[in-house]
Symmetry: C2
Subunit: 256 residues, 2 copies
């Protein structure tokens, strides 16, 4: 069998610890290319860069990690990587390991997930991996599990335009209870803004907020992670609200 070609990316930037651990864990699983943002691009959603030129810089870390840094978003990295850097369309795109959970409503703001989504739209199986802590830098279980899941996806494939969104709890490995296949929750942040005055007497605002749990059940991504379990949600990109389509037709909307 031909060696699989794997594109590794993230949204925390090419110098983040999570992508280093992920790349190391994948060594031997295929031909690996790292194409990642030059700087952190968190909460960029599914942004692409249309109005600025993209540049690629070759980066080496610790003499054993080579990658291509792009001055753009995670989705840019996948597009540019597949078209201009890799020798052919990859067999798998894996994005992460993100520092901070990408569950519930956060999925739609996530640069990590958007990179995987971009791959899925291009017809490439894709996985997004996050750990549920912004500070704890212990990626070894998440990295090893990513490699295992990558192998399964390379073997079995994924349905059209589907991403596996993986979230690993931020606890020691021996406390992780199990793997649960989940749905995306509705939990979101109740926003607040911290209003401040700068030294020049101008008002500015910081976005802040409190996390709200809006689901119950044993199959919801954010709740599962809080129970020290690994969550895997299959996500897709047809946003149509099919259950409301027929009802909306009955509105009988006319032009005038």
């Amino acid at each position: 069998m031909k060696k699989p070609l794997i594109l590794v990316t993230n949204d925390d930037g090419i110098y983040a610890p999570g992508i280093y651990s992920l790349k190391k864990a994948l060594e031997g699983a295929g031909d690996l290319y790292v194409v990642a943002p030059l700087v952190e691009k968190s909460a960029v959603g599914h942004a692409i860069t249309l109005s600025d030129p993209l540049r690629v810089t070759e980066i080496e870390r610790d003499n054993d990690f080579f990658g291509y840094a792009v001055n753009g978003t995670p989705a840019d990295c996948v597009k540019l990587g597949c078209k201009c850097i890799l020798p052919r369309k990859p067999d798998l795109v894996i994005s992460g390991i993100n520092q901070g959970p990408n569950t519930a409503t956060n999925v739609i703001y996530s640069g990590t997930v958007s990179a995987a989504a971009e791959a899925a739209i291009m017809g490439i199986p894709a996985i997004a991996v996050s750990i549920a802590s912004f500070t704890r830098q212990e990626f070894s279980f998440a990295a090893r599990f990513s490699r295992k899941l990558a192998g399964m996806v390379l073997e079995r494939g994924l349905p059209e335009r589907t991403v596996l969104n993986v979230n690993v709890p931020a606890v020691p490995e021996e406390e992780i209870e199990e793997i649960v296949i989940t749905r995306q929750g509705k939990g979101r942040y109740e926003e607040a803004f911290d209003k401040r005055i700068d030294p020049n007497n101008r008002v500015y605002y910081w976005l802040t907020g409190k996390r709200m749990i809006l689901d119950n059940g044993n199959d919801v991504d954010d709740l599962v992670v809080m129970q020290n379990k690994v969550s895997i949600t299959p996500i897709q990109y047809d946003l149509t609200n099919y259950s409301f389509l027929e009802e909306l037709k009955k509105w009988n909307i006319k032009m005038d």
Copy 2:
């Protein structure tokens, strides 16, 4: 009945012609607040600004258009508008009128749609409106239709977390044939990058590409607009691939 409170936003920026036409058409329909990006924010996806402070500038155009400009994304405008600028949670958020179609895969890159999505997530009925031309600046039908649809939505409401994504063909009003309730298509761009050398001998890339039609049928957003019809797609933000959930459980993924 209390006058409805309406937040008007967009992604082309507060100085774009589309938001001016939209605001004008909505006058009399309720108490209107314009909160929009200070500069153009196209293709930003569902980005939010976490790492920079947000600032608000009061803007007046032509002595008859007053609004609040935010140095952030469309989603930022909705969050900040609802929490810090409007006197209460609005009854409707309407985003547009965007110059360029937001159909098929483009929906997930769209700042216009992301503003409406942000509102829907906050529990506010929301509409996104685009015209299918990047150059033609004729918004009068789209603006009038937006007002009509806004009235219907204010009266009937929308299901939880649902946005109406409206796309108007860029043809004279008399050539528009009808209104069609649609689903989101799979059409996407086949990406290409234009590789160039800058005056300092450095390589850079422009994202470019060719639009691909990947559907057929009379109920697909991008195809309907190409047939000179108005497309209205109800979209929602649970990305779970439910049809693959059970299959994925059978993979029986273990921790080691």
